[in-house]
Symmetry: C2
Subunit: 262 residues, 2 copies
DNA sequence: AAGTGGTCTAGACCACCCC
DNA sequence: GGGTGGTCTAGACCACTTC
């Protein structure tokens, strides 16, 4: 019945032919993973910008010379990793931080009662300086390279709740000033994405309980020694490249850090 | 070419025929979701016990009168939710807490340096009493119903690090005694699974920073007022039924709570 | 060799969205 | 009506495990 072998096109599309045709193929990976990698590269290269529509599954299948099902599986994984968003009937879109949906993906602090709120930001300081060795190590740059250091306080319902220091590689965030930060409405990651072409896609946090020092206590309107949640976050962009170190202190008398284990 | 319509068997298998055949079908859900629900019911009913092999995809496809691809998609989601584990060439197994793999899914406290360790547990107290109203509310039982309350301290490398109270519905954990808890080797959720037929599949945590009271400080070998991580966990079994309330205090001077945001 | 999950294809139909 | 993603099927072949 079937006269045309399904996996042997005259021009091998992605793999070097059938997987086991040449005996041991040391660097073999499934087709859909290769397609996924190719799409990720296009995302990273900015071929499609955040918020934009990417080509349809059929188009991509044609481009990569694979079946729609294979493209579908690749996009399924990208959607599971929040790199793209599927919308039935419309298409697949590049994920963006400019959505209500994505706001609380990286801010897990919730009010003990009531609905989540939008934060009121107060920028205390923006400095450019040479990277301290530990920050340099985490950002994977050389100690002494230029970094931007932002200090700010966030308030919810008028109550100061978060004080944090944010360290960014100076090479990427060149024109970042206190003015641009202050006047920007919306989440900081949205600014990074729109103005500096750097999209955070993943973060890792280490959480501890610490006592407030005097300066922090004053900023948060509390007393020295108050227990605070210390959150050390490292954020990554495409290719697991670290692009942010953030050291936050959360006042948790009326808020809590919400985490789902599954 | 195709004379047999693909979606119209003489005996409708699961749905009431094709989705749009009878006009508006108010309670429609995809086939694979229905299959997933059926498999979940079998898991819940104990048709296949934790660690056991479930029927192959072909068998399940035959049983439910659907294609293998539909069963596959159902199992894919169950695997993503950690209810089952796929193993190529062997089959699909019911997930169990008796695996090194699953140990650190619910314990996110990691040492600042060095490898994770096995904990040394010390049971302080096991009591049966009437549920306080707040515990009853969370466990979805009546205030005053019987509950088991466990108090224990966990040490890592000889250093007391976690002190916690665990509240369980008395109706489920009938024969639970301090002896059985103390003599049991391995994670507590493994005991719950094997001895009481209740498998935790999901948990939700609220994290805060608090100051150690005198009793807690003494148990942890520190001083009153030391900042501690307060973790309030609610655990759920099949059907989102709450079956555990756990109030833990973590000493985070040599450990941290690790969390991945993605 | 037989059985399992894993990949890939081709084609059908559906639900949703927009023109 | 035409395009998009979402579901479902049928069949092929592959990789891995076990006998």
């Amino acid at each position: 019945m079937n006269t045309t072998p399904p996996n042997l096109p005259s021009q091998p599309p992605v793999n070097g032919g059938s997987a086991s045709a040449s005996g041991t193929s040391p660097t073999f990976s499934p087709l859909y993973q290769q397609i996924k990698a190719l799409i990720t590269q296009s995302l990273q290269a900015g071929e499609w910008k955040p918020g934009e529509l990417i080509p349809s599954e059929v188009d991509l299948a044609t481009r990569f010379k694979v079946s729609q099902g294979t493209v579908r599986k690749a996009i399924d994984e990208l959607a599971a990793e929040n790199l793209v968003v599927r919308r039935q009937g419309k298409g697949t879109f590049v994920a963006t931080h400019h959505e209500a949906r994505a706001q609380f993906r990286f801010l897990r602090l919730m009010p003990d009662a009531g609905e989540p709120h939008s934060a009121d930001n107060k920028i205390l300081d923006v400095k450019r300086l040479r990277a301290p060795s530990e920050v340099a190590r985490i950002l994977d740059i050389k100690a002494g390279d230029s970094v931007v250091c932002i200090k700010r306080v966030q308030s919810f319902d008028g109550a100061a709740t978060i004080v944090e220091e944010i360290w960014l590689p100076g090479s990427i965030f060149k024109g970042l000033t206190a003015e641009r930060l202050s006047e920007y409405k919306g989440p900081m990651y949205g600014l990074f994405e729109s103005e500096f072409g750097t999209r955070m896609i993943r973060a890792s946090e280490k959480i501890r309980a610490v006592a407030a020092d005097e300066a922090t206590a004053q900023l948060l309107g509390t007393v020295t020694g108050t227990p605070l949640l210390s959150v050390e976050r490292t954020s990554y962009t495409y290719g697991d490249k670290p692009v942010e170190v953030r050291r936050s202190l959360y006042l948790t008398d009326r808020h809590h850090y919400q985490n789902e284990l599954s």
